[in-house]
């Protein structure tokens, strides 16, 4: 899709996963700056989703399965907010660990999105 953005997203997701994972492992409760980290990654994911939609509207073709692409795209946008809401139902270190896991999953799905787009 957009090569630079994929790299930025991968780095952002992995940094978020490591930072939140360490904070959770140290037994921290969720703090505002943890939420800011999540929000920053989510913002990048939204940018990617908007770009993908714009490219598709302009007539770009997905080389792989369009259905799976759209499903994954929706998933990458919803994964962190849903995990955050679910985790804050009982704010604890595990909220941070859950967000770290979700960031890792999003990192994998962003790679898959790029592959499906290119038809790998």
């Amino acid at each position: 899709m957009v090569d630079g953005l994929v790299t930025v997203l991968e780095v952002a997701c992995l940094i978020a996963a490591v930072v939140l994972g360490i904070e959770g492992a140290r037994g921290k409760d969720p703090l505002w700056w943890h939420l800011a980290v999540v929000a920053a990654v989510e913002l990048l994911l939204l940018v990617q989703a908007v770009i993908a939609v714009v490219l598709l509207v302009q007539g770009d073709q997905i080389k792989g399965s369009a259905g799976v692409f759209v499903a994954y795209l929706v998933f990458t946008v919803l994964a962190l907010p849903v995990t955050l809401l679910w985790g804050l139902g009982e704010p604890s270190r595990w909220t941070l660990v859950a967000l770290a896991v979700a960031s890792l999953v999003v990192a994998v799905l962003v790679l898959r999105l790029d592959q499906i787009w290119a038809g790998v």
Partner: protein
């Protein structure tokens, strides 16, 4: 990660949705949703290519969703059943797909012990069973007699 740390607070007896359970439920939810999406796409587009494999994928997806909801709602019996089905499923299907590859022309989530998914399908039911055991209902401790 820090599952076995001594500072882990004792889980509330019988509750699977607390503490580490929240993380487990997120992983189960992720698996349930993505497996459902993938199986639906496969079944809608090319079911005839591998009806057995795709039906199995759909079944696995439903079991993941059931496990997610059951763990989140502290429905221990349903959760245990779903997790056990997953463990048996991944072991049987993986063994079969190695022994008789012709029966599974296309990959399922359980093929090769979940190799296509970082072996998460193999590890997840084991962690799930451990968690169900860890949070098993225990009678409240009796006051010590003096």
């Amino acid at each position: 990660m820090s599952v076995s740390e001594p500072s882990t607070p004792a889980p509330q007896s019988g509750r699977t949705s607390r503490g580490f359970g929240r993380v487990l439920i997120v992983v189960y939810g992720v698996f349930g949703v993505s497996a459902t999406a993938r199986a639906s796409a496969q079944i809608i587009r090319d079911f005839d290519e591998a009806p057995v494999a795709f039906s199995l994928s759909a079944f696995a997806a439903v079991v993941y969703l059931v496990a997610t909801v059951a763990l989140a709602r502290d429905a221990r019996r349903v959760a245990t059943t779903a997790v056990l089905i997953e463990l048996v499923g991944v072991l049987v299907v993986a063994t079969l797909s190695l022994a008789a590859p012709d029966a599974f022309p296309r990959e399922t989530v359980w093929s090769g012990f979940g190799r296509g998914y970082g072996y998460v399908p193999l590890v997840l039911p084991m962690v799930g069973l451990w968690w169900l055991w860890h949070t098993r209902p225990r009678p409240a401790p009796r006051p010590a007699r003096s």
